[in-house]
Symmetry: C2
Subunit: 104 residues, 2 copies
Amino acid sequence: MLSAVDVFEAVAEPNRRHLLGLLAERDRTAGELVDSLPTLTQPAVSRHLRVLREVGLVEVRPDGQRRIYALKPDGLQRIDDWITPYRRFWRDHLAALHQHLENR
Amino acid sequence: MLSAVDVFEAVAEPNRRHLLGLLAERDRTAGELVDSLPTLTQPAVSRHLRVLREVGLVEVRPDGQRRIYALKPDGLQRIDDWITPYRRFWRDHLAALHQHLENR
DNA sequence: AAATCACATACGCTTGCGCTTATATACGCT
DNA sequence: AGCGTATATAAGCGCAAGCGTATGTGATTT
C-alpha cells in the first residue's frame, strides 16, 4: 500500500504543482498532462496524479478510454486554513512598515 | 552541501510546522523548541531549525549562549501568493453551493 | 477476436530525507 | 584556566520518494 500522503507533501513536489497549475486553467485528459511534462514518462505522471487524487486535490471522470482530470475546489483549503493564523504576521509587519515610512 | 530547500518542502515536514506554530505564539530559544519535541533529539531539532532558516521562515538572534528564534513575517507569503489564484476556485464553488441551497 | 490506444500498476533502482550518536564550537561561571 | 551549558555540525544508517522499464487492464477499432 502507498503511504498516505498529506496535502502539504503533495504540494511540495514541483511537478505536481505544475499539474495543478494546468488544471486550474481547465480540465485535461491524463494524456495532455503527460505531454505537459516532457521530462517525465507516462507512468511517472500517472503516479503524481494518483497522489493528487489521494489527497483530494483533483478528481477524475472517465470519458471513453480517456480519463479527464479536474481540480477539486476545496482541496487546497486545508493549506489555506493552516496559513490563516500566520497571515496576520506579515500583515502587521507591512502595516508597521508603512507607518514607519509615513512618519519619517 | 545541503540541498537548497524551498518553502514548500520546508513546510511539508510536520515537525517543522510544529516549530512554526510555537514561534507564532512567541519567540523561543532553541532549547525551548527542543523541549517541545520530546520525540526528537537536540541535533534533529537543530537541523529542522536550519532548514527553516535557510528558506527564510525564521530568523535567529544570539542572546549570550542562547539562540532566540523568531518567525520571519513574510516567509509564508510565498506560499500564500501561490495559493491565491486557486482560492477563487473554492470561493466560486461555495458561492454556487449557497446559490443552490437558496433556490431549492 | 485481434490489434491498438489510453492509462494504471508492478518492480527494481538510486538518491535524498530525517534520524541518532558522537563531536565541535562558543559562551558563562567559578 | 577549567568546567558545565547551549547549540551547531559531522558521520553513518534506514527508509521512503521519485524515476524508468516492463506489464496489466479496459475501451476502441477493424
